[in-house]
Symmetry: C2
Subunit: 251 residues, 2 copies
Amino acid sequence: MNQHMKNPTKNAKHPEVKESGHIACQDCALDDVCKPISFGDQSFDQTHSILERRTPILAGEYLYKKGDPLNSIYALTSGTVKLVKTTSKGLQQVVGFRFPGELLGDEAISTEIHILSAVAIDNATTCDMSMKGLDDIAQMIPSFQNNLIKLLSNQCYTMHLQFTSYAGRNNAEERLAAFILNVAERNSNKDILKLNIFLAMTRDDIANFLGLRRETLSRTFTKLQKTKIITIENKELDIIDIEKLRLLANY
Amino acid sequence: MNQHMKNPTKNAKHPEVKESGHIACQDCALDDVCKPISFGDQSFDQTHSILERRTPILAGEYLYKKGDPLNSIYALTSGTVKLVKTTSKGLQQVVGFRFPGELLGDEAISTEIHILSAVAIDNATTCDMSMKGLDDIAQMIPSFQNNLIKLLSNQCYTMHLQFTSYAGRNNAEERLAAFILNVAERNSNKDILKLNIFLAMTRDDIANFLGLRRETLSRTFTKLQKTKIITIENKELDIIDIEKLRLLANY
DNA sequence: CGGGGAATTGAATACGTTCAAAGGCCGTGG
DNA sequence: CCACGGCCTTTGAACGTATTCAATTCCCCG
C-alpha cells in the first residue's frame, strides 16, 4: 500500500522551477512521460490525478512494499531511497539505492506486483505517475507510447550499467570503489562527474548492499583514505584521485 | 559489427515447429513483437529483412562487441551466450549469461551503442529483429508499440530479479547457490522448476562472473555435493535438495 | 593412445569476519 | 549550555574463509 501522505502541489504549471534540494525536471527519469502531460494537450490539465507532484515521504516510510499492486511509478526528486527484500532467514537485504532523478517501481510494470520494497532513507520527495493515467494517455495519444518506450529502454540501460558495475567484484576495495564510482556518476550531470557525494544511507546499509560486514566497510573506507583516493567525514565523501578509483573499480 | 553468418530461414511461416534444442516460440522473449510480424498484416510478409530466423552462431563468435552500433535485438533460441566487458587492466569480466528464450541487445536500445560484448559459449542460434524494422512497424501499426512496451517492461523485471539474486552475497556458498537457482529458474517453464541443468560455460566463466577463483568455485561445488544439495558431473548439474539450496541462496 | 586444456585437490598465505571495546555524533533533558 | 544516553562508526585481536601457487587428475579431440 502507498503509505506516504499527499500534498497539494505547487508549481504544477511550471515544474522546472528548481526548489532547493530538488532535481530539475529535465534531469528526471520521468521527464519524457511527464512533459506531454503538463504542456501538451490542454485537455489533460484537469486530469490532475495522473501526476502527483512533490509528494513528501518521511525518513523510514515505505513508498511501497513487496506484494503491493503497482499503482504508480515514481520519480525521486529529492532524498534517497533504498530497495530492500526480506531474506529466507527474515533478515533485510538491501538490493539497491535510488537517487534524485531516478525511477522507482519500474520492476513491477510487467507483473503489476512489486517484488521488493522501497524505503526512504531521509526525508524525500517523489513525483507519482499513476499507471491508470499512463494507460489513459497512451490510449488517447498514440505517439505518447514512444515516450514510454524511451523511458523503459533507458531503464534497461541503467540496470545493465548497474549490473556491470558490480558483477564479479571479489575483494572489498574493488566493491567499494565500484560503489563510489557508481553513486558519483548517478549523482552527476552527463558532462561533469560530481566528486563530492553525500551518502544519506548508514554504513550498515552500504555494507549490506555490498555483501560486507560494517567493520570491513569501515576499514576499507579508511584504507581508501590512507591511499589518498578519497576523504570521508561522516556522510560527506570526496573523491580525491578519480584515476586510481577507476583503476580499482576496473572501470 | 554483427559477425555471424546468415542462413536461409526454414519454418518462416510456422515458427512454432519445435526443432531439437530450440526453444518454442511462445517461450521466447521476442514472441510479443515477433508474432504480429509473422501472422499479422500480410503486407509485412515481403519485408523479410525485419526478422532473421534461426541464425546460427558458432562457439566463440561474437554476436556484437562493445562500441558496435545497435542494428538488431536478438532472441537466443538455442545455446548459451555470455556477456563480457574488458576491464581497465585488459582482463575479461563476465557480466552475465543468456539462455534460450532470453533477449540480447536490450541494453543498447536507448543509446543505440552496445556497452558490452556478447559471445557464444557453444554453437547457438538467434532470431534477429532489426531495429529499423521495429521502427517501421511501430510507425505503421501504432498498437504494435504496446508489444514493445511489454517486451521492455518485462526486461526491466528480469534485470531486477537478476540484480536482487546477487546483491549482498558474501560467501562463496551463497553466491553459487544463488547462481544455480537463478540459472535453474531461467531454464524452467513458469510452473515447474527444472532440476537438471546443463552448464555450457566453463568453470572459469562462472567463477569470473561470481567474483571467485576457479579453485574456490570448484571447492564450493564439491562442498554442495558432500552436503547432498546438488550433484555435478562435468557440465551436468542436478539439484537434489532444492529447499536447502533456497535457504543458502536466501531466496 | 597421446597431448593439451580444463577441473580438482593440497598446503601456505592473505583477507574478511567475528567478537569485544572504545570513540564519535546528535537529540533530549536537566 | 552542558551532560547524558543511545546509536552509529571505528579500531583491535583471534579466527575462519578465500586466494595463491603447485601438482595431479580428468576429459575431449586429434
